[in-house]
Symmetry: D2
Subunit: 363 residues, 4 copies
């Protein structure tokens, strides 16, 4: 299932950056879920570039729902969301010269030159607009089940935000103009990205995502662990190059006696004193918040002259990229990660509790 | 597919630590692949605890192939491998007290108390014996296709091995008594693990895996990216809490101009000057070695008194684990990661080139 | 995967009869396959009602390809085909009274009343327009691989067509104005359907499908037999209530000595003297033509007064259906069966020979 | 998923007729389901040949459960059932000459000569022993949820049993010594099969299966219709060549006004007056009994001299089969169909109601 994620609730992505539209198809969603134009627009606008920290391409993201919604609610049948492309300047792209660290060359090898090369084609970040529209349906539905998801920039170059410390942070992030918890850090990041853009460069970062309100018992013992499903989905984004859960790479120099999460019965609810495991033990959620970090690489498209090859002729070449690009995707990736996480959680819930779970709630 | 990985070539795991057997079922493997008892035994012995760095439980791992192999070769039908459990001391385990950071509590929530709690049951590292047997079939088959896979300990506490620098390192690792490249580092790690054991503690680490010889063009654009498939499979191991590719988390403070991998035509072969992307662009292999790191947490089972709850009564409790345990799994996880990686690669090849690829080779 | 068929090459259907559009998403198709507007239109027109044997609803079927096609060829990424609905008269439908033998009541139970009830919603035959558009891409691609698919009406009430006797029949059917081999039978069927319409009734039938040019060795030994895959896909059509292969139900009163298909080497090619098994032995194709029959029930929507219940109130009721309906779908189902068969064959080929097979051909 | 059926609850088959064992792996079953040795043995004995109507091969079917069961109940983790082969006479089989209508030639093409050819290898009816063991776990679990499944011989040559007329018939069949409803018919079938054996021949037949107690709303609108799932699974059996639901092929000469199933509210429960649709409308169960027929071909292995080819040399040849064979599988296929049906139903329930459904019941 090449462009599809999920088992009980699935999402398939389609579209090319300079084709007629990008879109997503949701199948297996419970019937009766409210579909709010406002929520979808809000989620789309969180991803949409709107200032000079982002690409100059301006898409209105006037999404269309072609199926699966009736009288404002899901019918239970597939929802096809299409977002037409309007602001395309295909002339900016020339066939042949592979942009370093972008998918161009790998796609050429995979598709033998038949791929739509313009603006990254099917590999373009543009397709994530469709993902955020999906989030605009799933995130509110999960909130009604008591599940809140939030993502912020944890790092951009040497600017570090403070980690998420509770449900209030997650709620704050769902509406924040800039996805950081510490305002000063936000200003520093703005400065870093602006400087990168001015120097025809790009910059990477780290995100942190938290999921509050998950029941214990989600995920499977071996290959479909909660970490497996989340990482699988998250690595769908080309710019993500790493993920870890809880203490993650910090475990590499740790001792069990320091980092084991002791259990405790707190007023009838079993919790852990620390959450170094990021809410997952042996691949199964343990009722604590699920916490993970993602490493996001700098946008490969920079306006400097770069060495590369022409994929058609095979010859060495120099490339100066002219298209409109983001100097950093670290900010725009936050709502995309929220949406992806929502898909994974909604699917895990549907598998465990059945296809009506999003409407009926857990139990 | 709860305990199954793969689409064209699949592997399913079964078994409990103290049940009759652990095992694996391989489906979709090409017919005519040599199945060598020697290779399977070698792979099993790499994982098997054999000295006092590991658990005192000693299993001979006398595997049985119940199906799918005829006259020394695969038939193309499902191969069921069973490895009987013999050295079990179930009396070491008491029902109820959840071991901190282990799957006990999460499994209790998932399976409502019907799970086999003895020795971690289906969550036990014992099941990885079956995984390594699978590797004993797939790794030699991939080598015949020109694909070599190797894993070493990159870090254990403050001991750091040097990174894999070429195919020779990978070849060396496939037979190394201790999976490190720098002998001195190996001694330091031995010391660290020994000390952890002596102080009733455990210690974490990092691994690095490299795959040489992959063709460009494997993986899918969105949800089945090469990173998605590898991370999905790798997080099947309960102790793994992070993965990154190439520069990975190092991208978080990097600039595009520093880390983009320039393409170059070197004698007719297109390569990249650097390999910060770990052989994958936009989710698709680019022909460079695939490189990833895993973060492995300290074994949760330590012999010190720990605070926990009794999952049956819900009451707070103290636990002193008596079973036989590894003070570190970082060493034994290396052949397991080789095997898991082999499964992912074999599946990706089968999807792209068809079900006979492992016998016929690529192209 | 509720509305998706296939493993390596997949097709997902979406849309409601009276919603904005119906459509299909193809994923996993080889890059470089020609997409011909003429072929798609021809396939759509074969299904489209065009005379008074069919419903009075007239849809122009102006399909749009939203993604996955570039410069007239497939890119290898998902193809989303949307066919807007234009000629809808939703006022013809009232909520509540379940049409006997139609999906209304079952859908109400499944979707709890949130389904789009107008004109059968997602269960409408209208969705098969999208299926035939898919066939308009796959059928020509298969023909270039030497594989020809054809379907005709074998029976309608007491009118019987002669069975397909060779490749020429299949070629004839791909362009036939009326899908029968015997012209006189076609006239008789026309008469039967006309009479049914005039008496406010509907009539059932049988189809026969043949696939010529398949290599031996497709299909899997147990649950993914060639018969399993074909029947799975064919029963996607609500009106199909039976399928059999080769002699099929004729086997029930047969003896092995009469019906076993003897093998013979004919000029270097191994064939069977008879083809009672319909080209499939033990679930695997044997190189002979694959032949199957489908039983198609009379359209449930008839204009007579029928007894039923109101699904909302649960009360007994009488129903007189007013919408525009087909007195028989047996004719229109033929191109739909061609398309469905093409999907199954294309997927089986992709699984066995890899994702490029439709472009490179079988080898 | 070549030898696997199901999505939420899955079953994988493995083994060869003359290999060490045949077996099945169940994944996704709810924890806490009773596993009764008596029920499994009863189901195995219903399939096991025990008189001279069946093959002379006598296997004790001493099954072993290798995993997934603890203290007499399912744990929720994979259950691996292995049934060792003991009574094998591999000398009876010679490589090369394809048995007409058997899988030998097709398997040779698929597996390129690496298949285990002895006794049909992986295509042998012997593998259905494992399927019936699975039924020995699932059938009692479904009964506790109020769902009863039964299969009988509807036809064998010209002997016709009466159709299933209610739940009592289904209950009767679950324990019947010979799977027919009309005793006289049973005697006639015994005679027909005996005569076929005596004349070195084999004979086909038809079965009828009924499922009582299903809730309305199971199945999916397009490709995963209830008919799709059932037919997919049933065609896993090589001898099955046709399936139809309700009136099935009888619809081909019927008119809507005659066969539409009128709905009626009977004391608060919505039923249909007739059940020509076999309990399924538009692919979704409607709460009426699900009824289907299967066409079963005569066993291809007959002891007469037959014309064939040698698959290795490609030359024409004559074959006289010496192995021990069934003159008819129509009797033994009944418990196998019960088991397969149980798998499909259990999976559909798990998808809709979640993974705990078999323990908690529907609702």
């Amino acid at each position: 299932m090449k462009n599809t994620f999920g088992q009980s609730l699935t999402v398939t992505l389609f579209g090319e950056s300079h084709g007629p539209a990008v879109g997503a198809l949701i199948d297996g969603i419970a019937p009766g879920i409210e579909v709010s134009d406002e929520e979808i627009k809000r989620q789309l606008s969180r991803r949409r570039p709107s200032d000079n920290l982002a690409t100059a391409r301006r898409e209105p993201d006037n999404y269309q729902i072609l199926s699966g919604v009736f009288e404002g609610r899901t019918t239970g049948t597939p929802i096809c969301i299409s977002i037409p492309n309007t602001d395309t300047r295909s002339g900016d792209y020339e066939r042949g010269k592979a942009r370093p660290s972008h998918a161009d060359y790998a796609a050429y090898c995979k598709y033998h030159g038949f791929e739509d090369y313009r603006g990254g084609g099917h590999f373009s970040g543009r397709i994530t607009a469709a993902l955020t529209a999906v989030g605009g349906i799933l995130l509110p539905a999960l909130r009604k089940c008591g599940i809140n998801i939030g993502t912020h920039i944890l790092r951009c170059a040497d600017a570090l935000d403070r980690p998420i410390s509770g449900l209030d942070d997650v709620r704050y992030l769902s509406d924040a103009a800039f996805p950081v918890l510490d305002e000063a850090c936000g200003e520093k990041i703005t400065e870093i990205i602006t400087k990168a853009r001015e120097s025809c460069d790009s910059v990477g970062g780290e995100t942190q995502t938290a999921v509050f309100g998950l029941p214990a018992g989600l995920g499977e013992p071996w290959f479909d662990s909660a970490e497996s499903m989340l990482s699988h989905a998250v690595f769908g984004i080309g710019g993500v190059k790493g993920i870890d859960f809880g203490l993650g790479f910090g475990f590499g120099s740790a001792y069990g006696s320091e980092v084991n999460d002791a259990f405790r019965n707190e007023n009838g609810k079993i919790i852990t004193e620390t959450n170094n495991n990021g809410g997952i033990n042996g691949g199964i959620t343990n009722g604590m918040p699920v916490i993970f970090r993602c490493a996001v690489k700098p946008t490969p498209s920079i306006s400097r002259v770069q060495k590369t090859v022409d994929v058609v002729t095979g010859e060495n070449a120099e490339l100066e990229i002219k298209g409109r690009h983001d100097p950093a995707i670290i900010r725009r990736v936050c709502p995309v990660l929220d949406s992806i996480t929502a898909i994974v959680i909604a699917d895990m819930l549907s598998q465990r509790y059945g296809t009506d779970v999003l409407r009926k709630g857990i139990n």
